[in-house]
């Protein structure tokens, strides 16, 4: 018995310095995205803007999936609510003209957050009663419900016509300037998110993901904390949605639909849900491929389907998961089993 135990104990279960992966990836991305417009043409600057906005959306989804361990198939509802809040205020402010002041513009953008948060509070109130597949299905049902409301309510939302002519104020009409606006906002949002996932609350989410039952025995009313996180995730999705309308100059009900929700799921799986930067990396892959592949073929769904298939089968941890595994192997070989103690303390899957 003693022998057996000491044998298992020598197996090295110490955390390898993989926590730095997200930090390094983020630092690299920061530089690349900061400099991108200098080398990219207008088309690719717009693709980069899309990467940032959808990346923020996917990261907000991952607060629920990667950190809390529940999967939502209706997360786009909050992305869409944010987009519509902004678009409808836009419509009020411009009053048929195409002019909007800078103040009005930023007020419209900010409005996306509270509306999405309120929507998430209502939807979350019901969804957090369940976990697993039931949670997933209920989020899907609510997402489709909201989609249908927006789709049918012509007099208020414009129905399936959506809302067009969302022209930002002059400065931000330039794709490069709008790109930098998104860059600044997304970076700020990511900084707040980083703070949250490394707070006591963030670790409680991970604990609930690993073992929700045990958190109750610690003294946690799991529903309340799930709801708080659901609202936080909805708020970030709302912010992403708010940036979307002025970017594409229009909003449509499909922004709330399940296909849009699916994009967040795809991106997160592509990049790696166990990593803070995972969904953003996933957004780069997804959005870039989408822009590139649709340039020469209409078989985009087939392409992305095949890629997802490969990821799920061969690297369920996404791209960052694959890099992480590769580095683990390399570290083991390179240092012949001696762990890099200086970095052991770094955060893990974050």
């Amino acid at each position: 018995m003693n022998l057996e135990n000491s044998a298992t104990q020598t197996t090295d279960t110490r955390r390898k310095p993989m926590g730095m992966l997200s930090v390094r990836v983020l630092a690299l991305l920061f530089v690349v995205f900061l400099a991108a417009p200098a080398v990219l043409g207008e088309f690719w600057v717009e693709v980069a803007t899309e990467i940032l906005i959808l990346g923020l959306f996917a990261m907000s989804f991952n607060l629920i999936y990667g950190y809390m361990g529940q999967i939502s198939f209706g997360h786009a509802a909050f992305f869409g609510l944010g987009a519509y809040a902004t678009a409808m205020l836009f419509r009020e402010f411009t009053g048929g003209t195409e002019e909007i002041s800078y103040l009005q513009f930023f007020v419209s953008l900010a409005a996306g957050i509270p509306l999405a948060a309120f929507g998430a509070l209502l939807v979350g109130y019901f969804c957090i009663r369940l976990t697993g597949i039931y949670f997933a299905i209920l989020t899907l049902a609510f997402g489709e419900l909201l989609f249908f409301v927006v789709f049918s309510w012509y007099s208020f939302t414009g129905g399936d016509d959506g809302i067009q002519r969302l022209l930002p104020p002059p400065l931000f009409r330039d794709p490069v300037m709008y790109y930098y606006l998104c860059f600044v906002i997304v970076i700020a949002a990511m900084a707040v998110m980083w703070r949250i996932v490394h707070s006591p609350f963030g670790y409680l989410l991970r604990a609930m993901r690993d073992n929700q039952e045990r958190t109750r025995f610690l003294g946690i009313n799991t529903r309340i904390y799930m709801l708080i996180n659901f609202v936080i995730a909805g708020s970030f999705a709302g912010l992403a949605g708010a940036l979307w309308g002025p970017f594409t100059r229009s909003v449509a009900p499909t922004l709330l639909g399940w296909q849009e929700s699916g994009i967040a799921v795809f991106m997160t799986l592509l990049g790696g849900s166990a990593f803070f930067a995972g969904p953003m990396v996933g957004s780069i892959i997804y959005t870039f491929l989408h822009a590139w592949v649709t340039g020469f073929t209409q078989y985009w769904p087939l392409t992305i389907g095949a890629i997802i298939l490969i990821i799920v089968l061969f690297s369920p941890g996404g791209l960052l998961g694959a890099i992480d595994a590769w580095r683990r192997i390399r570290t083991r070989q390179g240092s012949s089993g001696v762990a890099d103690n200086t970095l052991v303390k770094e955060e893990p899957d974050s």
Partner: protein, 249 residues
Amino acid sequence: MTDPILNVVGLNKHFGGIRVTRELNISISRGAKEAIIGPNGAGKSTLFNLLTGYHRPESGTIVFEGNDITNWATHQIAHAGISRAFQISNIFTRLTVLENVRTAVHVRMGKAGNIFASAQRIGTTETEKILKRCHLVEKSSHIAGELAQGDKKKLELAIALAGKPRLLLLDEPTAGMSFEETRETMTLVDKLNDDLGLSVLFTEHDMAVVFNHAQRVSLLHRGEIIVEGTPEEVRRDEMAQRVYLGEHH
């Protein structure tokens, strides 16, 4: 039985047609260290589930420190001061050992809802103290799910201690541990009881552990406490010999 910290009266619980707890009475004095023994299926784990609000009894009352907690939710009972360590380790598998304990410390401090502070800066001293006490310092940066069985059980206990309970429920605290680990763990339990006056109620299959460490022993059989007394009294009891102890000696 002066000043009982826990008083259970007439507890009943059925699962379908099976009565798993019948008219169960048990009283734990403040600062006591008691064991519940009994054959498999006697209802030991069910009793712990009832005490921690995981199951609701059909009838009977559970009074903890003067409060009737019979129908309280699990998290409310934890807050009231009852911590539980599980028989099969029930930990946060993808967090490190340190993060496991620190999260439990945050919950106890009422800081779990803190969204913007850095988790690393809160409750660190207390976390380290618990890790030290439970002989887990060297494993603190290991991923919990990859620990050896004995270490998982130590972590299980550490998480329960993080709640700073006044009553600690231990469900087979040494199951799966080596001889050395068992000794270490039970020494710790004794110390918690002696030094901090922590009341402990534990179940155990290892009779050596029970008779060396419990001040009082209750024998649970088919959902009822049939014998109760000091280890010596229970050991000598004829009924206890017949239904349970006989098979162990």
